[in-house]
Structure formats: structure tokens, C-alpha cells
């Protein structure tokens, strides 16, 4: 407060800025998407809360697609490389770990730097596994072609109401762990209704990463997406 007093005493001037702090990132993201389009590389940004089964879902999806298209994975976490190792061991595809240095999300510039470490000219699909978090990653466009999220049954069907932005930016919502639905008060129809309130165009795919149920549908959605991106 004392400092504030001093500041009032001296002559000051105001410089008007009127700039969203997301503006530079949105531009970087558009540039990255245009560059990926030129190279024929599809980038998927996969988001979810921690523990929703992102890595397991990815492993099953990659194993269904790896003979059809070339895939690389970028695992983003605040720390550790357990997920990148797990993906590599279970699928054999290129998998690198990105550390966000304490940040709760990836932005377009961090994504571009990550892509510099991927064999980008020998891949069709790069899957970015974003930091487990339903708030911050939704705010920052990574430059991905599409956003996907995984919502798991134990988290509850009302998540789209609590994290509206996340659901409004996602093109596909995978509902995981449907095998445990009888043990939770999870209403799949209500969940779909809430998702479509946020984003009427969102594709909803119920899966069970453990048994493999529904994974074919997600893999097919992804394959179509990649082929469309490369052919258009």
C-alpha cells in the first residue's frame, strides 16, 4: 500500500493495450496447424482428468491402428516419464516425454517444441497426451487438428456441467470404464445430453479400455479423421 502512495505522487501515464493474453497463443496455434497440414501430419490433443485411463485407452487404440498409419505419441506431464515408457513398451511406436516445468497445460509453442523431437516426416498421426486437468488445457489451443477428451464413469455424468469449457472445445468425448457403470450412479443418456448442451456436434464414444469394448469405434473415428486431413 505504501508503494502505491508513492506511485500516486509521481506523474504517470497510461498506455492502453486491450489485448487478450490468449491472442499470441491462438496465432501460434493457427500457424502450427497450417504447417502440419502442409506436411500431412494430423495432431490430436487428448485431454482428461488424472486417472481417467488416457494411457491405457491410447495403447489399445494405437495397437489397432499402427499397421494402417504411422503414429507418434507425445506425453506431457509435470514430471516423470512413466507414461512415455509404458506407451513405447506396449505399442512399439515412437513415444517421447514432455515436461511442462510445473505448468498445468501445454500451449502451442510448447507443442511445437515437442514436435521438433518427433520424426515428423515419418509419421501420419501425432497424439499429444495433455496434462491431466479439466480446466487449464481447455483454455490453450495447442495447434491440434482436433481435441478429444476421456471422461471415466467414476468421475460422474455431471462433469460436463462442472467443466463447461472443456466439453465445449472437444470434438470427441470418449466415456471410459463403462464396465463399472452398474456400481456407480452414472447415467449415460444424461451424460450425452449434458455434453451436447455444451457442444451439439461432439461425437460421444463409450468404451472400456480394459476389455477393449468400443475401442474399435474410437480407432475408426481417428483413422477417418487422419485420412480426411491428409486428402483434403
Amino acid at each position: 500500500m505504501c508503494n502505491h502512495g508513492i506511485h500516486i505522487m509521481e506523474e504517470v501515464k497510461v498506455i492502453e493495450i486491450k489485448k487478450s493474453i490468449f491472442e499470441d497463443n491462438d496465432r501460434d496455434a493457427d500457424n502450427l496447424r497450417a504447417d502440419l497440414k502442409k506436411r500431412g501430419v494430423y495432431l490430436l490433443n487428448l485431454m482428461s482428468a488424472p486417472g481417467s485411463g488416457k494411457t491405457t485407452t491410447l495403447i489399445h487404440t494405437i495397437n489397432r491402428l499402427k499397421d494402417k498409419i504411422r503414429i507418434s505419441v507425445m506425453e506431457a506431464d509435470i514430471d516423470s516419464d512413466v507414461d512415455a515408457i509404458k506407451i513405447k513398451e506396449a505399442t512399439g511406436v515412437e513415444s517421447i516425454q514432455l515436461h511442462t516445468g510445473g505448468m498445468c497445460h501445454l500451449d502451442a509453442e510448447m507443442t511445437r517444441q515437442g514436435l521438433d523431437n518427433v520424426s515428423i516426416d515419418n509419421t501420419d498421426l501425432v497424439i499429444l497426451e495433455n496434462v491431466g486437468n479439466l480446466v487449464c488445457p481447455a483454455e490453450f489451443d495447442t495447434g491440434a487438428v482436433r481435441n478429444a477428451m476421456i471422461l471415466s464413469v467414476p468421475e460422474g455424468h455431471d462433469k460436463p456441467l462442472k467443466y463447461p469449457l472443456m466439453f465445449s472445445v472437444c470434438d470427441v468425448v470418449v466415456i471410459n470404464k463403462i464396465d463399472v457403470m452398474p456400481y456407480f450412479d452414472f447415467d449415460l443418456d444424461k451424460c450425452k445430453e449434458y455434453i451436447h448442451m455444451r457442444n451439439p456436434k461432439a461425437t460421444v464414444i463409450p468404451v472400456c479400455a480394459k476389455t477393449g469394448e468400443g475401442i474399435d469405434q474410437f480407432a475408426e473415428w481417428l483413422l477417418n479423421e487422419v485420412r480426411n486431413w491428409q486428402n483434403k
Partner: protein, 116 residues
């Protein structure tokens, strides 16, 4: 953690403006923050103090926050209403065909600098 990331973006943008205008010091930064931007103003100012003091031109610089009220527009009855009180459902006609008009802003409105 979220707020700290946002603070880093603010610092980056303010430093850029300072460089372009050959400023040695910034007295305060004024932000427009929407009511439903998911930013907690107290956390933002706490993170600001910690991070700004590490920058020579931002030592002691205040972060002032203007809250922009969240307003939702209803496509069915054409009216507007406060988002925080009523959420997605229009209190005038009960419709859910509504969209956010204001309230997600995270903008640097202006900076205040010594006049010399």
C-alpha cells in the same frame, strides 16, 4: 498453478510493450478478468507478486483487476441475463439455447508507467 501460468503470459506481453516503448519501469498493470474465466483473482495477484518481483522492470508493480460480469444471451426470447446466478438456463423463458456474451475475458487493459 493455472494462475501462475497466466501470470507468465501477462509478464511476457507487458515486457514486450515495455521494450517497444523503451520503458524502464511499470507502475501497474490493469487486467480485465471475466467472472467465468476460471481465474481466481486472489491467486492471480499472489502469483503476480511472486513472479513480477523477479523482473527488473516489474519490481513492486501492482496488478489491478477489473471484473467483467458474465452475461448470457438467450436465442429464444432474445433477452440477456447474469450467467453466475442462472447458468445455462434462461430465467425469462426456460430455454437452454443460450450463449455467453461476456465473462471469459483475460485481457491486459492498460499499463501505467512513469511519465518521464
Amino acid at each position: 498453478m493455472h494462475e501462475l501460468g497466466i501470470v507468465f503470459y501477462i509478464i511476457r506481453d507487458v515486457k514486450k510493450v515495455a521494450e517497444e516503448n523503451a520503458l524502464k519501469r511499470v507502475v501497474s498493470v490493469v487486467m480485465d478478468i471475466g467472472e467465468v474465466s476460471t481465474i481466481v483473482p486472489e491467486y492471480l495477484t499472489d502469483c503476480w507478486r511472486w513472479a513480477a518481483d523477479k523482473e527488473e522492470i516489474l519490481k513492486g508493480c501492482q496488478l489491478e483487476i477489473n471484473t467483467i460480469p458474465a452475461v448470457t444471451h438467450c436465442d429464444d426470447c432474445g433477452k440477456e441475463y447474469p450467467t453466475v446466478a442462472h447458468g445455462k438456463i434462461c430465467p425469462h423463458c426456460g430455454s437452454t439455447r443460450t450463449w455467453l456474451l461476456h465473462g471469459r475475458e483475460v485481457e491486459i487493459r492498460e499499463i501505467i508507467v512513469p511519465n518521464n
